[in-house]
Symmetry: C2
Subunit: 417 residues, 2 copies
């Protein structure tokens, strides 16, 4: 309720991810005051979370303080808070720490792991959508090797050394590739008592495709590369249950394992469920062609939280969509202020890419497609450039070069019990 | 109980700190098998913990996997376990995960925070002896600024912004200097709603000296530098109670604060209390001139865990003592194996140094003493060199250069709630 004396309209932006940060920075050029809210004090470069989980990068390499990003913009006020609801009637955002009024609202609250209602899987497997979750995975994987090193029971040892990744999208494929390199290039040198033939990395995918958005030749290259890295690729296989010890697949097959990483689905964050507005696929909020919530023209939704139809399909939950929508939502708030006509949103496809490890990636941009070393170089280049801060870029780049030259992963510390 | 078939004697080393790692590596040259036990899987460069607590370095910059350190030594076996006791009668080390037999034992278990029996202080203040504790301090300090940014009650706000560090040794002095730079050089630029005149950094010391081991001119330079960095230096002041909100000093003065960092004392780790052997000052185990436990000639104690008298005083609990003792203990085990005369231990003073922040440090080595920029350059050089791995050195060095040039602290992320 503060700072209501100023006559400038207030825009509240919920979420400090790719969409929210971009929207706040775009809005800062217009004559508005902005309150940017996130439950964390940092912006997270989610596409590299799997490298934290596999001990290649440390947490601060891919996280950057939101206040540092917006410090030059005096009209952006940051609030560290968890949003619990929105009162559209009174134009108020409800937080765990209080309330804040708005004239315009941008909801860029992002996504969360989707377990499709499987409670046992949700309770016992590892999600990988937050920084904490990635660190927990890293700690867990390294602990499994410590346990295996002194375990005499062969069955228990094999379960410690079996790592199942569920989901054949970019998260699953990249995690499997990175885990293979951690296990077979780095840890082999240090666990002299472990027989690495007992180790298994299994990638499970329900459909008949890995990286479904990619053209067929790249999908095939992906499977071949993973197999060459000793990843067992299991397609057309559905998970039905996981009790923490035994992963059950449809048809009854059981894989004994202490580690299941769940990368098989994303949905809009649960905040969307209690806004009282129409939701589309993956619980996302249905928006109109201007990214507004129907009946609430002052409220925009962008990114993973928004269900936007284009070419008769909802847009995918990826960063480029969120960032392009951020620009249009910010522009449309300015248009509303100036009584100008609103701009329609249309997504321009920027292609997609995924890395499968050392010298191996797949890249598709328009009609251009490539895989292997050149694709891997493009992938590294693009991802380093997209990191938000020069120092982060320099550190991440130097770590990648180091790991490449000496087959090392230095972040192999177990930080919590 | 494993690997007892080999005829080579087994040496168990408890602790992967400066003393334990050095002892294990020294022993690996002799004809013995070594089991190195630590409750963490990493070696920690404790002298830089305060830089993690003040957001200058990240956890993996000062922690390095023990398995990576010893991977070339095939006769060193690492065990991730917490030692719970020693059965000297049966020459067995008891761990939370099982037992291991030894022919020779090196106890290098280190120290822990000493609260001198003040329960309220122990419960409500922050210790800074482990990596986790440093991260908790960082998260807490940053959270205080987030709370203060939106707190209307002036008393509460001032308590959020008051940071008390207890202890005028290197830990306290270095923490106070680093915190001053974080607050007044970095955070001032980002919390536009905070009046930094409400912030206080207070360094409390019970005696009339900061850095008591230093010559007088350097002690005076230390106080002057801290004051110029807006640190309130309070000497001859004892803490009597802290309830989490109010710090009570002897004489009745009360400082309202949500943050007390306790750097006022160290003692040998509590494992030493249940060995059933004689303990000296700070609960350390009394050893003879060869570093053996009297009556247990096959058991050596080194570093913070050992009470060793020299020039009628117990040696200080610092890394150089531990490392010099490691070499002698390893040599004496070899001497015992070869029925040779044991070597007496004598500590060679290597001097001491402390940094108080940007361009400011104090350095004393023998008769040489200096302070200011040159001392600070020496401090940086020595500490970077002492980091255990080339990559860590390169990353830490580049972070210091970066922070120096742009007055930045990039690790300002709150990782846990």
């Amino acid at each position: 309720m503060e700072n209501q004396k100023s006559t400038k309209p207030r825009v509240v932006v919920i979420g400090g991810g790719f969409g929210g940060i971009r929207a706040a920075l775009a809005l800062s050029k217009y004559g508005v005051k902005i309150t940017l809210i996130d439950r964390y004090n940092y912006h997270l470069f989610q596409p590299l979370l799997y490298q934290v989980a596999t001990a290649g990068l440390s947490v601060d390499d891919i996280a950057y303080p939101i206040r540092a990003i917006v410090k030059e913009k005096k009209n952006i006020d940051f609030r560290l808070a968890k949003v619990t609801g929105v009162d559209f009637e009174n134009k108020t955002v409800l937080m765990d720490t209080g309330t804040v009024n708005y004239d315009y609202l941008v909801i860029a609250a992002g996504g969360m792991t989707n377990y499709f209602g499987m409670k046992s899987v949700e309770e016992n497997s590892f999600g990988m959508k937050t920084l904490d979750e990635s660190v927990i995975i890293r700690n867990h994987i390294l602990s499994m090797f410590e346990l295996a090193a002194h375990e005499k029971d062969a069955d228990k040892r094999r379960a410690f050394l079996t790592f199942v990744i569920v989901g054949g999208g970019p998260t699953g494929v990249e995690s499997a590739g990175a885990l293979s390199e951690l296990v077979y290039h780095v840890l082999t040198k240090e666990y002299h008592h472990i027989n690495f033939k007992e180790a298994r990395i299994v990638l499970v995918e329900a459909s008949d495709k890995l990286l479904a958005a990619m053209p067929e030749s790249l999908r095939e290259a992906t499977v071949e590369t993973l197999i060459s890295k000793r990843v067992e690729v299991r397609m057309c296989v559905q998970v039905t249950d996981y009790d923490g010890q035994r992963l059950t697949l449809k048809g009854g097959e059981v894989i004994p394992t202490n580690t299941v990483v769940w990368g098989a689905g994303v949905r809009a964050i649960d905040l969307m469920d209690n806004l009282g507005v129409e939701q589309g696929s993956m619980r996302r909020v249905v928006v109109n062609e201007y990214l507004q919530i129907p009946n609430h023209p002052e409220a925009f939704v962008i990114g993973d939280a928004a269900h936007f139809m284009q070419d008769e399909r909802p847009l995918p939950m990826i960063a480029p969509v969120a960032m392009q929508q951020a620009d249009v939502a910010a522009k449309n708030i300015d248009n509303l202020l100036k009584n100008k006509e609103l701009k329609k949103f249309a997504y321009r496809d920027v292609g997609s890419m995924a890395t499968i490890g050392r010298n191996a990636a797949v890249v598709q941009m328009g009609n251009f497609k490539t895989h292997g070393f050149f694709a891997w170089a493009i992938w590294c280049f693009v991802h380093v450039l997209r990191l938000i801060n020069f120092r982060n870029r320099a550190v991440v780049f130097s770590k990648w070069v180091w790991d490449y030259l000496v087959y090392e992963r230095v972040v192999r510390i177990i930080t919590r019990k």
